[in-house]
């Protein structure tokens, strides 16, 4: 029933907007917004409640007291600044590396007629589907062999790699849309290939690099299993792992408030990115997926 009503709206977007379908649409929109936001907002609210309100039964929805104690606890009693730094360092470095390696490859795959192009593309497409659990055992052995355990590189290298397929696909679809004439004009003008790439193509590529970079950053920031496996030293842990282990760290009482505060901290950079770059994220995701 609801689907049918919904379709009516799809069908005649403007002509027959009766009050009834208007109202219905508003209800649906509201439901979508609540569905997507509620868990995040609840966590935010929890992080600002005092402990008594957190463990109150029935639940307190509009607390009378608010506190930042859970946040200060993260920074005073636990090395959360450290975790944030680790996450940021690893994510940013791997994002930059990924763009530096992936964009040239994408350019070559989009523009230059290289041998084996189809095979490479098929390979890139397939590995985007690999769950990381399939890789962690082999990577663990690489990490051990190279003595990279408890080293930022143990995360930076795999993060760069797991974001490469998406980067190559998104950037390739961007390069394909770029008018070829510009590069031809540059050749006629006398630019050599390095100059074309750096002086002509790169300046036009900045928006696409930003789009791809945001996606890569999100994936790197959110990664869990490698961070859990390759990093055991407390001072090197990333936010998701450190937060997940908050609950199991104290035997007697689970620090719900601290966990909520840590969740909010760990998600806020991403919330910010989504708010600022919603359109780019959508473009990048669809470009990356639909090309497949």
């Amino acid at each position: 029933m609801s689907l049918i009503q919904n379709l009516k709206l799809v069908h005649l977007p403007k002509s027959k907007t009766s009050n009834y379908s208007h109202l219905l649409l508003s209800v649906f929109v509201l439901l979508v917004a609540i569905f997507c936001l509620a868990p995040v907002l609840w966590q935010l609210l929890t992080s600002l409640k005092v402990n008594a309100d957190i463990s109150a039964v029935p639940n307190v929805y509009i607390p009378k007291r608010y506190t930042l104690a859970h946040y200060t606890e993260l920074f005073t009693r636990r090395p959360f600044l450290n975790y944030i730094f680790n996450s940021a360092l690893v994510s940013i470095t791997s994002t930059v590396l990924c763009l530096a390696l992936g964009a040239p490859a994408a350019y070559a795959l989009a523009r230059l007629r290289i041998w084996g192009e189809q095979v490479i593309l098929a390979g890139v497409l397939i590995v985007t589907l690999f769950p990381y659990i399939l890789l962690f055992l082999g990577l663990l052995q690489v990490v051990q062999a190279l003595h990279l355990g408890n080293n930022y590189l143990a995360l930076i290298i795999p993060y760069t790699a797991i974001n490469l397929p998406l980067t190559i696909l998104v950037m390739r679809s961007f390069f394909q849309q770029l008018p070829r004439d510009l590069e031809d004009a540059a050749k006629v003008d006398g630019y050599n290939i390095q100059q074309i790439l750096l002086q002509i193509v790169l300046p036009m590529t900045v928006p696409a690099l930003v789009t791809t970079g945001i996606l890569a950053f999100i994936f790197a920031w959110n990664e869990f299993i490698f961070a859990l496996t390759f990093i055991t030293r407390e001072s090197l842990k990333t936010i998701p792992v450190a937060t997940a282990q908050l609950g199991s760290s104290s035997v007697f009482e689970i620090p719900y408030g601290a966990i909520a505060a840590a969740t909010v901290l760990g998600t806020s950079p991403l919330v910010l990115l989504v708010l600022l770059f919603q359109r780019r994220i959508v473009q990048g995701l669809t470009a990356g997926a639909v090309k497949g």
Binding site: P179, D181, L182, D184, A185, A186, K187, V188, D189, G190, Y191, N192, Q195, I200, P203, M204
Partner: protein, 354 residues
């Protein structure tokens, strides 16, 4: 100053895709050559071969005394104007124009001098600090021209440079182009599918079809003496009437009407061509007359375009351009085909016979 010569140029991508089969031609200093043809005829590929953006499979390209076939584009000293203009979006107009000069390590002073000169010549003085995105289509087109002119190259290449302008502007820029390149004593190769551009601009037209050169002549001669059936049908608007006719008694029979064939030996079949503007209302003294039934009159303003079914061959339609003032009362009309404007082509090969 130097001329441009193509010798037996061929570009083969695969056994099925051969955009340029065998093209030889020469463009002298100060000559304006247009490559004319429908899309897919090989004209753009030929231009890209000259520019060095593609490598010919066979054949050579000479600029003056230099064989440039194996040179990189940048080393050929050619300038090219692209259909999309291909202005670097992140550079200002001045930087766009100066880019090739900078790569040649000219002195700052000379670069500035040459950029100013060309910008003045094209009326771009006020725009030099703008980015391409802040320009109108016509302005972008002029920047693209300026970027080519500033090079003082050995050869100019232009790839449909007018096709992105609206109709009104196109006519004006066409006239400007003609003036501009008249002053340059350099070979120009111009690609277009628009016959008006080809006719008005060029000193020579090369009609291409299927990767082969069909005819290389001054525009007027292309029009009056098309070398084959393809050229006859491609050049001219409205299109030339072309009929495949059987011959008897030294004449080709258009329906019930014999048209004398001016050849020593008359083949059993022949192609007759006549342009609609050469089909007139018959006067009493005319000899080559035919009769038919009008079934369509299209008004073109200055003239009416008549479609007439020829008597004795209702499957044949002849089209005639008649003055708009002409009034008709009857459906039946008598027309004359003036003998000196008839074109005869071989029915099998399509080559011009007379």
């Amino acid at each position: 100053m130097a001329n441009l010569e193509l010798r037996n140029l061929n570009k083969t991508y695969s056994s099925k895709v051969v955009p340029v089969k065998d093209i030889s031609l020469k463009v002298d200093e100060g000559e304006f050559l247009t490559l004319l043809g429908p899309s897919g005829c090989g004209k753009s590929t030929t231009l890209r071969l000259i520019a060095g953006l593609e490598q010919p499979t066979r054949g050579q390209i000479w600029i003056g005394e230099r064989n440039v076939t194996d040179l990189r584009s940048g080393d050929r000293n050619i300038a090219m104007v692209f259909q999309s203009y291909a202005l670097y979006p992140h550079m200002t107009v001045a930087e766009n124009i100066a880019s090739s000069l900078k790569l040649r390590h000219l002195s700052k002073l000379e670069i500035r001098q040459r950029v100013t000169d060309v910008a003045t010549k094209l009326g771009l003085e006020e725009l030099t600090q703008r980015k391409p995105s802040q320009l109108s289509g016509g302005q972008r087109q002029r920047v693209a021209l300026a970027r080519a002119l500033v090079r003082q190259p050995d050869v100019f290449l232009l790839d449909e440079p007018l096709s992105n302008l609206d109709a009104l502007l196109r006519e004006r820029v066409r006239a400007e182009l003609k003036q501009l390149f008249k002053a340059q004593n350099t070979p120009v190769v111009y690609v277009t599918h628009d016959q008006t551009e080809a006719m008005t601009l060029s000193s020579k037209v090369a009609v291409l079809y299927n990767g082969n050169l069909q005819q290389l002549d001054p525009p007027q001669r292309i029009y009056t003496h098309p070398a084959n059936r393809f050229v006859a049908s491609f050049v001219g608007s409205p299109q030339m009437n072309l009929f495949v006719l059987s011959c008897r008694d030294n004449a080709a029979w258009l329906g019930n009407f014999p048209i004398p064939v001016p050849l020593p030996t008359v083949p059993p079949q022949i192609v007759l061509g006549i342009r609609p503007e050469n089909v007139c209302l018959a006067r009493a003294e005319d000899t080559h007359t035919i009769q038919g039934q009008i079934y369509l009159v299209e008004s073109l303003g200055m003239q009416n375009l008549l479609s007439v079914r020829v008597q004795g061959a209702p499957e044949l339609t002849i089209r005639a351009l008649l003055p708009a003032a002409w009034q008709w009362s009857d459906d039946i009309v008598k027309l004359t085909l003036s003998p000196q404007s008839l074109h005869w082509f071989d029915a099998a090969t399509g080559d011009r016979l007379f």
